[in-house]
């Protein structure tokens, strides 16, 4: 079986290594004249190794190789450094060099499970080069050395599959899944064999399990579609093929971008592009990874921090989002957006004081920033500060006089602030901007009714509101208007419509009683 996503699988080789595994304990027996020197050398080794790991992580592969080479100059028996070099060569698609590095790792004493990893990776390299016998030998050795890890079993399964040793492959995939039931590749491997053995139903189940765990793997979607097709389930096959094509397009784009990135590893914009590609298909984790790489390479990369903050906000990881936006502000104090976003986050967390502070800063940075003004307005409302709320909305509608929702909100605030005439003007403004705004008609009608003025007009407005949006609330307003206008039969009819829509609303039932109490003839009838 070909490795479906080589980049993803090869990154596994990196995951086996946390530096801690490879600290060679300094023997207390070597407490000699050279101990100070050895400690210094060890520190230098560690430093180079860590830098190598870091450079690998951020895609600076040539620098990584240099660092590992420095490790090996200091300690030619550092098998972990050989392994890491192998991993980097593989990421650069230099398979022969990678194999050479792994082979070297095997000639020196193991550090941790370095021999296991070297065998595993050699197995994968030889598998991809078609040297299946050697692949099998190394994959088997990897399993022998790392029997409790799922990936070696899975990779051995892949080699067996490629060689047509299906029974052995199935055993290995099953062992892999016993060790890690979330190993998507093992499910796929099982599915693959089932399909080849004409067991399409079982194949289907396996592929579905694989996709649950790795939804962006094109091979999984392709083979699931094939399984459906095999079973003559044409609609599902076609639908799945569409998923495959979308996933493939996404993966192809990422591969292209990765290649470009390898040519220009310090170009953070390329990493940002990759992040956007990931985001377009909602692969959030990969997007986060790409942005993190970008900001590691260039800590002053504002877009990276900002976009990370946005992603974390969407994920509800507010503390991380706050850190990210704070970083943006540190780098660029003069942009309103990060203040705005922080304001939103704090508002969501109901930390209104903080929210107010940041939204004010946003507004100071950009007085025309409508979102900030709106946000402030809402916060003031939460705080019960009507005056400030009105002030914010007044500013908002000055910035954008066509923002009908703002005028509507302003009108409601003015009602609450006992400024009815201004509220009337606000609602009229809404109607002027948006003649289809049911709320504006409704609110104005209610206000007229409440003020007992322009009641004929109020009836017309309330009817218009109901016509545009026959909601319980609008019928309720119509009933109120009729009531104020002493048109009780019409009021009763209207409130009964409201009750029909919302029978459990006590207010409406009380209104009905109130109307009926004013209109005893109706009751008697």
């Amino acid at each position: 079986m070909k490795t479906a996503d080589l980049f993803g699988i090869w990154s596994m080789c990196l995951l086996f290594f946390s530096y801690q595994e490879f600290k060679v304990p300094i023997s207390t027996a070597v407490a000699s004249v050279n101990s100070a020197n050895q400690t210094g050398i060890k520190r230098a080794e560690d430093a180079h190794f860590q830098r190598g790991m870091h450079n690998t992580k951020v895609g600076l592969y040539d620098h990584a190789i240099t660092e590992f080479q420095e490790v090996l100059k200091l300690n030619p028996a550092h098998s972990a450094a050989f392994c890491q070099m192998g991993a980097v060569y593989r990421l650069k698609n230099m398979l022969n060099e990678a194999a050479g590095a792994y082979q070297h790792a095997l000639t020196v004493p193991a550090i941790g499970n370095s021999h296991g990893v070297a065998n595993l990776c050699l197995g994968m390299i030889y598998n991809s080069q078609g040297k299946f016998q050697r692949a099998e030998q190394h994959a088997e050795k990897a399993v022998e050395l790392m029997p409790k890890m799922a990936t070696p079993h899975c990779q051995l399964g892949n080699v067996y599959t490629r060689r047509g040793k299906f029974k052995l492959a199935i055993e290995q995939y099953q062992k892999a899944l016993q060790l890690d039931q979330d190993l998507a590749e093992a499910y796929h491997g099982l599915g693959h064999i089932r399909l080849k053995q004409n067991q399409a139903e079982q194949a289907l189940e396996s592929y579905q399990e694989a996709i649950k765990r790795e939804p962006y793997n094109q091979a999984f979607h392709y083979n699931l579609a094939t399984a459906y097709r095999r079973l003559n389930r044409m609609k599902e096959a076609r639908d799945q093929m569409e998923f495959f094509q979308e996933t493939k397009a996404y993966q192809d784009t990422i591969q292209r971008q990765r290649k470009e990135s390898q040519k220009n590893p310090k170009n953070v914009l390329l990493h940002a592009q990759m992040a956007e590609t990931h985001l377009a298909v909602n692969n959030i984790n990969e997007a986060i990874g790409a942005y993190q790489t970008a900001i590691t390479l260039q800590p002053s990369f504002v877009i990276g921090h900002d976009n990370l903050g946005t992603i974390y906000t969407q994920q509800g990881k507010f503390e991380k989002a706050i850190d990210a936006f704070q970083k943006v502000i540190q780098l660029d104090k003069n942009t309103a957006e990060p203040y705005l976003k922080l304001g939103w986050i704090y508002a969501r967390q109901q930390k209104y004081d903080l929210a107010e502070s940041y939204l004010q800063q946003a507004s100071q940075q950009d007085p025309k920033l409508i979102s900030a003004l709106q946000g402030l307005g809402e916060i003031y409302i939460q705080q019960g500060n009507l005056e400030e709320a009105i002030d914010s909305y007044v500013k908002l509608v000055k910035v954008d006089p066509t923002e009908s929702q703002a005028w509507l909100r302003l009108g409601v605030l003015r009602i609450n602030a006992n400024q009815p005439s201004k509220a009337i003007d606000d609602f009229k403004k809404v109607i002027e901007i948006d003649p289809e705004s049911a709320n504006a008609y409704n609110n104005l009608a209610w206000l007229y009714a409440d003020l007992e003025m322009n009641l004929d007009q109020a009836v017309g407005l309330a009817k218009k509101a109901v016509g545009l949006a026959p909601t319980a609330s609008n019928f309720d307003t119509l009933a109120y208007v009729y009531y104020q206008h002493k048109q009780y039969p019409q009021a009763e009819e209207a409130i009964k419509r409201a009750i029909e829509i919302s029978p459990s609303n006590q207010k409406y039932n009380e209104m009905l009683k109130k109307i009926q109490s004013r209109h005893p003839k109706v009751i008697k009838e």
Binding site: K2, N96, G164, K196, A219, T226, R229, M234, Q245, K248
Partner: protein, 572 residues
């Protein structure tokens, strides 16, 4: 005609012993041993060295690694003069940079002298095109009883009309088929069953020599890959029946797919609905399966049919392709040769329009991974009734060892024996000196050029001489060859489906023009029938829909089947 080998008669001699021996149990034991020995006897392919074929391919030798050089050129077997034996046509490249040669390289036609040797009749026949040639195919497009020749070029293609008098006339312009894109493989087929052969050419890339660029891998200069230049659309010509073709590419649905880097073309009725479908192998692009909707309109269905991508959903570098029923179930299967570090693919036709990738199950995955395959063919080399596979290999990068030490530029070709149970065995190492050659091979064509009852192989090589591999021993098993002649159907009988029953063995073959890679094979169908002494049934389904049936035929004969007019033994 070649005299049948004495060894072929030995089984006959044994069977002609007196009745005394027939009562002896040992006699039957001997029969069994001989018959077992025959079916498992070693068949060798011998590279014929003194055939008179002095052709050496050239790509123009620009020394500039021009993008259009690495594909090589094709060739094939056909009987151009209707004298009963197979002649050979070989396509050549041409100089592209230097000032025109006084003696430019040309394509070459070699006439079979009937005694195992060939004579160069290029000039005599007027077939020495000096264009930069790639692929070729044959078919009797004008239904006048002789095979015409079409050559796909980097530049205007050429149609040579066979005059019937031993010469060819270039009718490219007047017939309307001188398409000037970069043509590679091509094939004739009657897609609308109107009795006239239509023509499909796959094109590779939108490229001009003046726009050539240098490509590097890790700082090493090498030939550019297909993604360096945009792909080009293919072209389909409908035969109007009056010597003229009309470009119906768009109307037929072939432009409903994006342009790809086309290299291999194979026609075949994979869905058994009586019309010719088409498979196109593309280089680092998804492959196409165009299903004939019955009215000359095609719909692309490769994705849902399972033949578009590898089994991991990735494009492969498809080179050559051919349809063939390797398991004798009456459904055309499909095989595609691919790049190195990709297996060749064997697709089993499951029926209902779906193919299963059985590469690994069939046992051809692992070995082909290490080779870069081009021409590929199904053929029964040992006449046991099951189609085997031959593939020509050779790298595209002349300096590949500077980049990847694990592979080589010249590569050996591969022969897989069909074991009759859905699996194949690599017998390349046991099949004679012809299979030990390591060259930069490209195309494969098949034909019994020495008329001894087994299929021989023609291999073209990039910038090298072509190889004629003579089959020695394949005719120890019995065989039959059928040359079909259409009357209502196209005269070449292309698209005719033949079913043969001999004892327990049923076989199916379709007469195909083109297929493989840049090549054409003998249009006569060849069946190996193992030990069968008689052919129980030959059933011929013509493209017109007419069916002819013939029973109880002798083995080891060549027949001519004329549509609705009978079967006769060919006596030349």
């Amino acid at each position: 005609m070649t005299i049948k080998r004495v060894i072929k008669q030995q089984p006959m001699t044994i069977l002609c012993v007196s009745r005394f021996f027939m009562s002896c149990p040992i006699f039957y034991l001997l029969i069994f041993i001989v018959s077992v020995t025959v079916s498992q006897s070693k068949v060798s392919f011998i590279a014929v060295t003194k055939s008179g074929i002095d052709f050496k391919h050239t790509d123009g030798k620009s020394e500039k690694r021009l993008f259009n050089e690495f594909l090589g050129s094709g060739g094939g077997f056909f009987d151009y003069d209707n004298d009963g034996d197979l002649d050979i046509y070989l396509v050549n490249g041409a100089s592209q940079i230097a000032s025109p040669d006084k003696n430019p390289s040309t394509n070459a036609l070699y006439r079979n002298n009937g005694d195992g040797s060939f004579s160069n009749v290029t000039e005599l026949t007027g077939t020495g095109s000096t264009s930069y040639g790639t692929g070729c195919t044959v078919g009797d497009y004008d239904n006048d009883g002789d095979l015409d020749l079409y050559i796909a070029n980097f530049g205007p293609n050429v149609l040579y009309q066979n005059s019937g008098k031993g010469t060819f006339i270039d009718v490219s312009m007047q017939s309307g088929v001188a398409n000037s894109q970069w043509g590679t493989s091509c094939a004739f087929a009657d897609v609308d069953n109107d009795g006239n052969l239509d023509l499909y050419i796959t094109n590779y890339a939108d490229y001009a020599v003046k726009n050539d660029k240098k490509c590097y891998v890790r700082g090493i200069w090498q030939y550019c890959g297909p993604r360096s230049y945009p792909p080009d659309t293919d072209i389909f010509y409908h035969n109007n029946g009056n010597g003229i073709f009309t470009d119906l590419t768009e109307k037929s649905g072939f432009l409903d797919v994006p342009a790809c880097h086309g290299l291999g073309v194979a026609f075949g009725d994979y869905d058994n609905d009586g019309d010719q479908d088409l498979y196109v192998a593309n280089d680092q692009d998804p492959n196409f399966l165009f299903q004939n909707q019955g009215s000359g309109k095609f719909e692309e269905t490769a994705l849902l049919s399972g033949v578009s991508y590898s089994d991991m959903g990735k494009e492969e570098a498809g080179m050559g392709t051919i349809f063939g029923d390797y398991d004798n179930d009456g459904l055309l299967d499909l095989t595609v040769s691919n790049f190195q570090k990709e297996t060749n693919t064997l697709y089993h036709n499951e029926g209902s329009g779906f193919f299963a990738d059985v590469t690994t199950l069939a046992g051809i995955g692992e070995i082909t991974y290490s080779y870069l395959g081009w021409g590929i063919a199904f053929f029964d080399y040992n006449n046991d009734g099951y189609k085997d596979i031959f593939v020509a290999n050779g790298h595209v990068l002349d300096n590949i060892t500077d980049i990847d030490r694990s592979t080589t530029y010249p590569q050996r070709n591969l022969l897989f024996r069909n074991l009759g149970d859905g699996t194949f065995e690599d017998v390349s190492n046991q099949s004679g000196s012809g299979l030990t050659l390591q060259k930069v091979s490209r195309t494969v064509a098949l034909g019994d050029y020495d008329n001894d009852g087994d299929l021989d192989i023609l291999v073209t090589n990039w910038n090298q001489t072509a190889d004629l591999l003579r089959n020695e021993g394949g005719n120890l098993n019995n065989w039959i060859q059928i040359n079909v002649v259409g009357t209502k159907s196209n005269k070449s009988g292309i698209g005719t489906r033949i079913k043969l029953v001999a004892g327990n063995l049923k076989q199916y073959q379709e007469v195909q023009s083109g297929g493989s890679y840049l090549a054409f094979s003998d249009l006569r169908t060849h069946f190996g029938v193992g030990n069968a002494k008689r052919i129980d049934l030959v059933e011929i389904l013509w493209p017109s829909g007419h069916i002819d049936k013939y029973k109880d035929l002798a083995v080891n004969h060549r027949f001519i089947a004329t549509e609705n007019a009978g079967l006769e033994i060919r006596t030349e």
